[in-house]
């Protein structure tokens, strides 16, 4: 169904000769094909955006739309990270607690050293990467199912960070640190302000697309589709999966930096984000179990989820029922995807 499953892993075949690549279709044709393949989520997203615009005309103005993107950026970044893990056939349930850790640790360290914004950003990114490495190594080397690995990591991170802060986050995030989450570049032609978080979001999106087109991306797909076959074809399965966890951990830290800037310090900042990220990825049509789906669709899934929240808000649906609607839509979307997957075959 996807490029990676059709393209054999790169490198010489057993016979020693190089496989002749089929002629590459034009960029536009390929782009259209990938849109058509994962069309439902883009159609749903478009419908939701138009609906929001009807309810709230401000939304069509750049500032209104950028505000939406700014709100959606953390979840979109998380979804991109979760995508890498899911497409290799695993789960990462620790990202929500990692977001909390990022925010709480940053606030705690900044409280004592208010001038060290950059080192603190480096520190939390490092924590994210380290957590990803540990998740990856435990899952691949000790063969613990990633559901359990990352569930245990969730308990460890939540417990450890609140043990360290005696149960309540202290300190606050400095203005400099919060710039990434709520500041922006002023006086951009045509826009009032280009939020930094939108820049980060776009950078992550472009990076993720480029990565999925590179060798590593193909290896992610191959591992998720059939890890034994990938392993026999020479893909270092354990390393590839670990890298996916590292990307997820690192991007969770990025999301934490954005969210901390946007919303400030709270002990609940990351609550439930792991499930939202997984939901977003699955809404994008990425199949749990790996090997299918595009990262753009996963990010679109995150935007759709956020658009849904925005719309329900505009329509005056109470916060509580919002969950119910979300639940129904998730089930319906995945049921639809399962139905399509069957008729594809």
């Amino acid at each position: 169904m996807t490029d990676a499953t059709l393209t054999p892993p790169t490198g010489p075949t057993p016979a020693g000769d190089v496989v002749e690549a089929p002629p590459r279709p034009s960029l536009a044709a390929r782009a259209w094909r990938s849109v058509a393949r994962s069309a439902p989520i883009f159609a749903v997203l478009a419908v939701l955006l138009v609906w929001i615009a009807v309810e709230n005309p401000n939304f069509t103005e750049p500032p209104g739309f950028l505000a939406f993107l700014k709100r959606a950026a953390p979840l979109a970044v998380l979804a991109a990270g979760q995508y890498f893990v899911i497409v290799t056939g695993e789960f990462d349930l620790s990202v929500g607690s990692l977001v909390t850790v990022t925010v709480v640790v940053a606030a705690q360290v900044l409280a004592d050293n208010p001038d060290s914004t950059l080192p603190v950003i480096a520190l939390v990114l490092l924590i994210g990467v380290a957590v990803g490495i540990v998740n990856g190594l435990i899952t691949t080397r000790l063969q613990v199912p990633s559901f359990i690995t990352t569930l245990g990591m969730l308990l460890i991170l939540d417990g450890a960070v609140f043990y360290w802060t005696d149960g309540a986050p202290k300190g606050s995030l400095t203005e400099d640190f919060r710039t990434l989450g709520r500041g922006g570049v002023d006086d951009v032609p045509g826009l009032e302000q280009l939020p930094w978080s939108v820049v980060v979001f776009l950078a992550v999106g472009v990076g993720a697309v480029l990565l999925m087109r590179a060798n590593l991306g193909k290896q992610f797909m191959a591992v998720g589709d059939n890890d034994r076959a990938a392993g026999l074809s020479g893909v270092p399965v354990a390393r590839v999966r670990t890298i996916a966890f590292v990307l997820s951990g690192g991007l969770a830290a990025v999301a934490g930096i954005l969210l901390g800037g946007f919303a400030g310090v709270s002990a609940q900042v990351g609550d439930g984000l792991e499930f939202q990220a997984i939901t977003a990825v699955v809404l994008g049509g990425v199949v749990l179990g790996g090997g299918r789906g595009s990262v753009v669709a996963a990010i679109a899934g995150a935007l759709t989820l956020e658009a849904l929240f925005t719309l329900l808000n505009l329509l005056g649906v109470s916060g509580a029922l919002e969950d119910t609607v979300e639940g129904v839509i998730i089930i319906a979307a995945v049921a639809f995807a399962a139905f399509r997957l069957r008729s594809d075959r």
């Binding site: 789960f91 435990i138 000790l142 063969q143 613990v144 199912p145 559901f147 359990i148 690995t149 569930l151 245990g152 990591m153 969730l154 308990l155 460890i156 939540d158 417990g159 450890a160 960070v161 609140f162 043990y163 149960g167 499930f275 997984i278 939901t279 699955v282 749990l288 179990g289 109470s318 916060g319 509580a320 029922l321 919002e322 969950d323 119910t324 609607v325 979300e326 639940g327 129904v328 998730i330 089930i331 995945v334 049921a335 399962a338 139905f339 069957r342």
Partner: protein
């Protein structure tokens, strides 16, 4: 409960053969000294019970050194009581996981069950039985919905039950914002009455574990659960109606969650909107099942292991409490224990597979 425990180690070859190849190879090894072999098999089948003995021993030493008394009857009661709520829902979760599914909606269902039960009872003795039946019916309906979505709509169980969790959460938060209803005295006393050091409610847990455990290992339906969880396609090809099995597994799981909700209502005297989520029963019950040696992918494991794991978690909790360990540190340690235990299982399984392939080559 004690019966399931005794039952597991001495399980007949037919019941062993289904999901535990290691036990069989152990039996051939044990021919020289059958008794040693069988004892070893017993622990090999549910090593969590060996761990339980070890942890009770260590806990006893540590608590005594700390100046407490581990075997005080109040403490024992405490451990058993803590096990009941998690135990019942974890036994249900075992069935769902064995069938190759899983249920993330149990904690909201527990809250809902406590609310529905307490509201219907409303302090009236006469409504006790109708309320219990109604609550269990609500549980069964939720399980049925979960099972139907997983099988007929082919939605991944993770997403299906997560969606159900959100649906229930929305319903609860929209309709309840404070403890509601009240349970009659008889039901409240059920949660608190003790016979010596033994809380009466432990018999509910024991009964559920015994019934579900026996059903899994002694009935046709139980074998079907193992078969479907082990390999659904092979089960289909063997003529099993796999959908019915998965749906039934979900119904059992949800009814167990509803029972936990009723039990918690009895402890708290009323229904509470956050009782299930505050307990974290969704992930905790899955952790307990896996800690008890049941494979997350399904088809392998037993209720006795889950019961042992629930007791291990309760003993750990209790020891940490007695040592006045910081609750957050406690949570972190719990995470380490869960990962470490599952890593040990994975290594054992890998070792066994290597032994198995080794013999095949020779």
């Amino acid at each position: 409960m004690s019966d399931t425990v005794r039952d597991a180690p001495t399980g007949s070859p037919s019941s062993n053969g289904l999901e535990d190849p290691g036990a069989r190879s152990g039996a051939t090894r044990g021919r020289a000294s059958a008794i040693v072999g069988r004892t070893r098999d017993a622990f090999a089948a549910t090593p969590i019970w060996a761990a339980l003995v070890g942890i009770v021993g260590i806990g006893w030493v540590v608590v005594t050194l700390d100046g407490g008394t581990f075997f005080a009857s109040g403490n024992l009661t405490n451990i058993l009581q803590r096990s009941v709520a998690l135990g019942i829902v974890a036994v249900g979760q075992t069935v769902a996981i064995l069938a190759g599914s899983l249920d993330l909606s149990v904690s909201y269902l527990i809250s809902l069950a406590s609310l529905v039960g307490a509201e219907t009872m409303d302090g009236r003795e006469s409504m006790l039985v109708p309320a219990i039946l109604l609550t269990l019916a609500v549980g069964a309906a939720v399980g049925l919905a979960n099972g139907l979505v997983v099988t007929k709509l082919r939605v991944n169980p993770f997403i299906a039950t997560l969606g159900m969790a959100l649906i229930l959460r929305g319903y609860i938060e929209n309709n309840y914002d404070r403890p509601t209803g009240s349970v009659p005295e008889s039901w409240e006393s059920f949660g608190y009455t003790r016979m010596g050091p033994i809380p009466v409610s432990i018999f509910l847990f024991a009964g559920v574990a015994l019934i579900v455990g026996t059903t899994l290992r002694r009935t046709r339906f139980g074998y079907h659960v193992y078969a479907v969880g082990g390999d659904e396609q092979v089960s289909v090809l063997s003529g099993l109606r796999t959908h019915r099995v998965v749906i039934a597994a979900h119904v059992i799981c949800s009814v167990c969650a509803a029972l936990t909700g009723l039990f918690l209502a009895s402890r708290l005297g009323s229904g509470t909107p956050r009782v299930g989520t505050d307990g974290g029963y969704d992930l905790e019950s899955i952790a307990a099942v896996v800690l008890g040696g049941t494979a997350l992918a399904g088809g392998r494991g037993r209720v006795a292991g889950t019961v042992g794991a629930v007791l291990v978690l309760a003993v750990l909790d209790n020891v940490f409490n007695q040592l006045e360990l910081d609750p957050f540190l406690k949570q972190a340690v719990r995470g380490v224990v869960i990962i470490a235990a599952v890593a040990v299982y994975a290594q054992r399984r890998k070792g066994r597979q290597q032994v198995a392939t080794g013999t095949a080559a020779a």
